[in-house]
Assembly symmetry: C2
Homo-oligomer: 246 residues x 2
DNA sequence: CTAACGCTTTAACATAGATGAAGAAATTCG
DNA sequence: CGAATTTCTTCATCTATGTTAAAGCGTTAG
């Protein structure tokens, strides 16, 4: 269970070291970043659309999600974030946030002032590159989500998002061999996949009847990974796992 | 008409200068990048899913698009690119491309070897930051596309993509006051919006009958911008125009 | 000039998923 | 603990969009 700041930082450092030949100064600079620890309840806001960020947040524990609303009030979830993710690194480079970020569960965050981050980025180009890659992978995931909502039917969409969670939660150390706890309502799944809650429910029931998933409350077990993968058309290339852990 | 390399480079430099306090060395380094000019016919490949890039391409003239296919052969278009765009900057930082990039029209490209780019990124942190912002905006656009296919109905999706083209082509100097040439088939629009060609046709006809657009072949005129915007629920914030031209 | 091709439009019909409503389960709160 | 609230499931119905097919049109090629 990676839930101490120290563990999350070390994990991040290992990730970054895969991407650029960091030197000791890079490591020091990263660990010397000023931050404040903050504990948030479920549903609290980290970033609000239209505001400019004063901090970027490293998730130490808990989950968060990014979303955006249309004029007529429909919400689209854009991504989910796990411990170790730097949410809103872009906040330190873009003046105004075009989306909202909220916690999904109770969460601990390390808030880093954007000024310090910007400084780090110019002082330590290799670290900047490693962080850049975080945002590139984030973008790659977003593109796969376009495919998900644009091309797959309900069954494929749900299967796909369950596969993605499986990979990402495993990487964050939040999944056992039998499955994972998904602290997300069906309404969240609906808003992430562009379906209605009613149809998410139907679809999950179908997947369950087909034996592709098992559920106990919000714990998701995947009896046959290959079957779920093929129902989803899931190809993990887009997660760029080679850039995340070796 | 921004169609010479020189003009495109200067435009890029001005864009970058908005984002970071560049010094003369940055400018020099940018202009000293090695490149080869290449002219491509419509439909040629720039990057192929699964390959690793050897070059990143700056579009000098013409349009390109990024896409991805599902297992069962459905294509989803992920973005369109205009002159001045650096397509596949991520190619120099991620090992394997998870999507394909193809020209839409005849196009001229300046191909920059990824090695030289990587070098530039470490040598000139401020330039790297400016380029990073390009990729962040790209990601912001991708997120808006998730909203587009996830939440809007056909009319909204088409209206939205037409609004986006209007803004982006204008910025690239490819649009007059009356409208713009959109060298894209309805099949492209369908694959970008997650609709069928038949329904794109229907929807365009409807928009035209409603007086929201006029078409002459592939020239799109927008008689009433505000009306189209509101049909689309278009809010240009996500294009981060302040980071693109002042 | 005509044939061939690619793209668009229209039509008739089929269907996945939306909508609305209501009851069952689970969770939270006093 | 029981009441209130939030989620989840199911049903019946409706609709936006998909499907298939065919005709129209413009451009290119022979």
């Amino acid at each position: 269970m990676p839930d101490t700041l120290q563990q999350v930082l070390e994990r991040m450092l290992r990730r970054f070291a895969l991407r650029a030949p960091l030197v000791q100064q890079d490591r020091d600079a990263l660990f010397d970043l000023p931050f404040t620890l903050r504990s948030l309840e479920p549903g609290q806001w980290l970033i609000r659309e239209g505001n400019s960020a004063t901090n970027s947040a490293l998730i130490v524990s808990g989950l968060a999600y990014r979303h955006k609303s249309t004029i007529d009030g429909d919400r689209q979830i854009l991504s989910f974030h796990v411990p170790g993710d730097f949410v809103d690194l872009e906040g330190s480079l873009l003046s105004v946030a075009d989306h909202t970020v909220q916690t999904l569960t109770q969460a601990e965050l390390a808030l880093v002032p954007v000024g310090a981050l910007r400084q780090l980025m110019t002082d330590r180009p290799l670290l900047a590159q490693a962080m850049w890659i975080d945002t590139l992978i984030d973008a790659a995931v977003a593109r796969e989500w376009i495919v998900n909502v644009g091309q797959r039917d309900a069954r494929g969409r749900i299967a796909h998002i369950l596969c993605e969670f499986a990979c990402r939660l495993r990487l964050a150390g939040l999944s056992g061999d039998d499955g994972y706890e998904l602290p997300v309502t069906q309404e969240h799944l609906a808003d992430a996949t562009g379906l209605t809650t009613v149809h998410v429910s139907r679809t999950l029931m179908t997947l369950e009847r087909e034996g592709l998933v098992k559920r106990l409350k919000r714990f998701i077990a995947i009896p046959d990974w290959e079957k779920l993968k093929s129902a989803a058309g899931f190809n993990e290339l887009y997660l760029h796992l080679d850039q995340v852990s070796a």
